[in-house]
Structure formats: structure tokens, C-alpha cells
Amino acid sequence: MDALNNLMYGFGIALEPINIAYVFAGVFAGTIIGMLPGLGPISALALMIPITFAMEPSSGLILMAGVYYGAIFGGSTSSILLNAPGVAGTVATSFDGYPMAKQGMAGKALAIAAYASFIGGTVSIVFLMLVAPLLSKVAVSFGPPEYFALMVLGLTAVVSLSDKSLVKGLIAAVVGVMISIIGIDLQTGTERFTFGSIQLLDGIDFLVVALGIFALAEVFYMLLRGGGGKAPKRNAIGSLKLSGSEMKQIAGPIGRSSVLGFFTGVLPGAGATIGSFLGYSMEKRIAKDGDTFGKGNIKGVAAPEAANNAACTGSFVPLLTLGVPGSGTTAVLLGALLVMGVTPGPMMLEQRPDVFWGVIASMYIGNIFLLVLNLPLIPLIAKILDLPRPLLLSLILIFCMIGVYGMSFSVFDLLLLLGFGLIGLGMRLFGFPAAPLILALILGNIMEESMRRALQISGGDWMIFIDKPISLALLVLALLSLTLPLLKKRRKKSA
């Protein structure tokens, strides 16, 4: 049992009192950072580089990793309570989490999110520990054609996210792709849809759109409905307890999404956001009560929460075994490690086993801390819903604006936020679903870049998408997921 010995060695490092303190400090700071919309783990970690410089590399990474997965853990809170995702990875959590909160089940939704995050995180640490070196091969086997096929498969979820009208869902998705195109095109260096504005050169940040279309649109909608003065329901939080049958219901989604999320995280560039969407849409399709997703289904909270935490842990695979950052956050971690004199990569397991196994062991401890820390906090934090409506709405507004301004210190982004808030309101009034737009916005860019890269490599030959087995398999899956529901429907009609 090599892994077990290594793990014991890792626990030896992670259980040093100073390191336990670092894990705790990391996950605590991360939880709070995650709860505040806009203030993401990237900027928090960049600020910590000077602090960690003087530390033992293992301690430094233990602290910073704690902030990262702590933020993903805590990000669900504002998604559920305020419809304002705290970090990009928890956007999908608001689809069912916020409806649950509106129905007086905020406590339950938060508890499910905490359990699912804990299990997703822990399951993926086991994977990370056992198969990380092997998985680095899986990660590199994904080239441009494979990424394109994966994004196509992801986009087929538009069908299941479209509620009533498929046409409206598709329109929303097309708008999402169009927004993703804004900015400098990496393939040619050409500006697209920037109208000469330098603020648009880097495109529109995903969180600006998400906060606008979800949180701000919700505020506008409530104002429009004259709900401003309505008194909140008494005991708006509800019980935290889950019944046995509810436990059974979410066990499957959590298990499946943990695995799916982990593998999504392993792929450089995919990460927690895509992982949570894939988990959500997979469960919606599998579930017998799939049509209640989006209206407060507990499985719709469990799946994305397990997936995003699993993906967060999974993203340590390319970082630690290949030395390649798969996301902005892991890029900052890589930079911090280099400054501390540790070069992540194929040699790291041999050269710095203390860092590798110490961090893995600390993640087990960190996830337990997060659960113990978050559960008792739920009734306190959820009290925010007891606030009078006008106060609550103003609070959401302020959170969104501070969050967006804090990302780039740009007034232009605030105007964009307002614009997307109005677009979101319009979409709600005319029955356009917001989820397909957000999904297409996340996937559109990678899909387009991968497709053009693949075609550039193949010299314009489309067969590259079919010649590669992984790409072919993913495309077949995509085709099936589009056609099976139609066939089912037809069979139902004829029966």
C-alpha cells in the first residue's frame, strides 16, 4: 500500500500544529471570500504571495489551497440566499438553490450544499491521491479536437435547461455565444464587437453577466412586481435537517457529480464552472422528476455543489503533476510555488514529496473544517433573509456592485452590470431562460477556439474531429443526448 504510506507521511506534515492552523486560516478566509460576490480566489491568492514567501513551501501551499477550495465551498451561500453567485463555479447552484430559499427552505439548501461540497471534495482527494500521476496522461490526451467535442456535448444541455420553449432557450444560447465572442480573437488578433472600446478588448467577464442576469434582474423583477414592501415569511430559513428519503435522493447525484466534476477539473481550462454545469444538466436529464429542476429540486443543488468542489480538487492534477496551470487561480498558485523555490511538474513527486503529500493530506483536514465551520453558521448567515425586503434588495444591489467594481476597478463594468440586469429582466418578463445564455457564454469561447485550432492543425480537414477516438465518442454522446429525448417524446405520443 504505497499510497497509504505516502498519505501517512503527508498527514505527518499536515498535522503539525502550525500547518493545522494554516489549513484553518485558509479555509476560513476562503469561505468568506467565496461568500462575497466578485471577490474571487484569484485576487485573494495574489495578495497572499508576499505572506507565503517566507513559509515552508508545504505550509504555503496548504494555506493557499485552503483559500481556493474554501472559496468554492463558501460561494454557494450567496448563490442560494441572494441569487448572486459568489464565485463563477457556483452559478449553477443558484438555479435550484435560490428557488428553495424563496420557498422557505434556505436552511436545507445550504445544508445540502455543505454536505455535497464536503463529499465532492473528499471523493476527489481520494482520486487525486490514487491516480494523479496516471491522470496527467488523460489531461494531455485532450487536444483541440477533444475540447471542441466536449464543449459541443456541454452545449447540448441547452435543451434540458430550456424549460418550456426550446426556441427561446436556443435564442438565449445564441446570445450567450455572441457575448463570448466579444474581445480580441486569439486566433487572429482581430478585435470583434468591441466598437473601438479598449474596455471590451478582453471580452466581458463572466461574473459581470452572471450577477447582472441573475441577481440584479431578480432585484428589478421584485421591484416591478411591487414586492418591495411584502413582509418576509416567518421562519424563512426552515429546518436544516434532511429526511432519510431526501438523503437517498441526493446520494446518487452527489456520487455521480463528484466523479464527473473531478475529471472535468483534471482537464486544463475546463474547471469548476464547466464541471458544475455538466453535473447539473446530467442530473436533470437522468432524474425522473427532471422537470422540477429549476424550481427548487434538492438534486439541483447537490449535483453542481459536489461537481464544483470535485473539479477544484481535480485542477490540482495538472498543476502538481505537469506543472501546467489549468485556470487563472492555479496559475497564481504556480507562480507562488515558483517563488517559494518549488517547481511543480513531473519531477515534483520525487523532489518535493513533502509538498505533494502534505497538501493532499491537508485537504482532507480542510474539508472537515469546512463542514464543521459551515453547518453551525448556516442559521446565522441565513438570517439575512429575515431582513425587510427593501433592505435585502439594497443589500443585493450593493453586493453586486462592490463585487464587480472590486474585480477590475472599472466603472465601465458597473454599467455593463446594469445593462445585463436590464437584459435579464427583459428575459424574465418574456419567458427566456437565463441558464442557456450563461452556459453558452462559458462554453462558446473554448468551443470556437478549439475548433479553429483543430482545423488549423489539420489544414482545414474536418475529419480530425472524427478520426480522434475521444472526440468521436464525445460527439456521438452529444448526438444521442440531442436525439434520445425526441425519440422518447415520439414514443410517448404514439403510445
Binding site: M340, G406, S408, E449
Partner: protein
Amino acid sequence: MTTLSLKRLAVLALPMAALAMTTAAQADEWTPSRSIEFVAPANPGGGWDTLVRTVSRVLQEEQLAERNFAAINVPGGGGAVAWAQIARDSGNPHKLFATSPPIILVPLAGASRYDHTAFTPVARLITDYSIILVSADSDYETINDLFDALKENPRLSVGGGSAPGSMDHISVAGLASAAGLDASSVNYIPFSGGGDAMTNLMGGHVEAVITGAGESAGQLGEGSQLRALGVSAPERLSGSLADIPTYQEQGVDYTFDIWRGVMGTPDMPEEAVAYYENLFAEMLATDGWQQARDQLGWIDAYQDSEEFGAFLDEQKELFSSVLSDLGLLRQ
């Protein structure tokens, strides 16, 4: 979170800069009268950000500067957003930014109104070099093998970590033309970073990759899946990269610098420039700097303000000619 509010304070303090400047510039021996805003024109995690944070930290640890250097990220437009902001802050002696070839390349591509001539060169600090990588089981042993293959089959893909017309592309296109190929014949595939490009090379999705030597150092060595064919340095690098021959050793007369330095606001007072020049020269001599520099795979390449300014003009000419060969010149 505390630094976040600090940043906001710094933003609020901006209008005060003009006031502070007029009084400070009159003194003979100029010293900063408040914290220096040190801008990385990008998000945390990239090359500029690393330079800004490392320099700020070393200056503080070695207690060289009278005032604190506050690292500030102004992302957007590959630098253009920060440049536009700094260009409006003419004469402010308390604002510096990290710079590298994009200050020339981005404007040449037509994506920024401001180029290096709009700002005050302060000092060049370090340089990195380009490196050509292939998979460890590849048939190519030298850059000549690779270019012979490219001559026969121009469709062979060469990945890089940045958009067409930016650093990696210019570097490999210039190399190709020095090796007797048409610069525009290289099938350059842009990835979203050097790491992304190297992963694709490991997976066999591209034939070769060009990226920064420092960035690739962790990927090379015993048991590596990658092999380096050559570096763009005038002489061999040190440390783990010492075994890699230069292009010149292999008969291709071509070098390419990925330099990084510091620039200031337009028309920064001479006294302030002199102060910073000396400060950075002193910093480069400290143990703290040398340690950080080696860990990050950087090579010292100090130039003072005047030399750096002349160097930037030369670079612009070089880049313009490669870009026009590639048909990417927009200015």
C-alpha cells in the same frame, strides 16, 4: 481584503498625485513622498504581475526604498487599458508599470493608441529567451531537422503561448526567416499560454512549441516528456538549461530577447527617473533579488533609462519588419 481597500485608497489618492509632483520635482535630490503605485497591466499570475510583486517584495525586504511599492493590477486589452490610464497621468513620479515586448507589439497590431514612446523608460531589468521544444520521442534532434521538415511540409504545426503577431509568433517567424524559410510559412497555432501549448505538445497535438525558456525549465530534465532543440540566447543559459544549444551554435544567426523592464508616466521628471534607475540597479545587486531571480529562471539584463529607450526603438524596428513579412502590420 485589507489590500483591496488599500487599492481603493490608492485610486482615490490619484488626483493628489499632481499636487505632490509639483513640490517634489523642484528638489535636487528627489525622493518619493508617498507610496509608489507599481502597476501590472494584467491579471494576477502572469509575467508582468510576477515581476511587479517580486520587485516590490525585494525592495521592501532589502529596505532599499524610502517608500512602499504597492502592486496594483489593471487588467484589460493585453495591457492597453492600463496604458491608457497611465498615459493620462502625465508627470506623476509615483507611478510605474512593468513592461515587455507587448508595449511595442500591441500598438503595432493596432490595439492600443499608446506605444513605448508615450511613456518614460526607467530601466530594463531582466530577460528571458525563447526555446523550441519537441516531444521526447520526436525524430527532430536539432532546429535544422525541424526546419528541414517544415520546408517539406509547411502544414506541420508549431504551437505558441500567445496570439498571432505577439511574442512567440514573432520569435519563431523571425527564426524561420533567418533559417531561410518564408516567415509567413510557419503554421503557428496560438494557445492561451505557454503551459497550454506545452500540454498540447505532450499530448502529441502539435509538432513543436515555442515558449519562454524560464517557463519551460520545470518541464525539462531527466524523465521529461519534452526535449529542447534550441534557445534564442546569444550564449548558453545556465542551470538546468545549460545543455541546450543556441540557434547560433546550430548555424542560424538569430537571437530573440523576451525582456522585461519598468516604465513611468509620460514626462516623468528627470530627478525621479534618476532615483528609480539607481534604486533598481542597487536592487539587482542584492542577495534577495538574485535568489528570487534564479528561482524564476530570469537573467539580469539591466539597462538605464537612456539605453532602455534606445533599445525600445530598435526593437520596434525589428518587430515591424517581422510583422510586415507576416502581413500583420496594422499601423
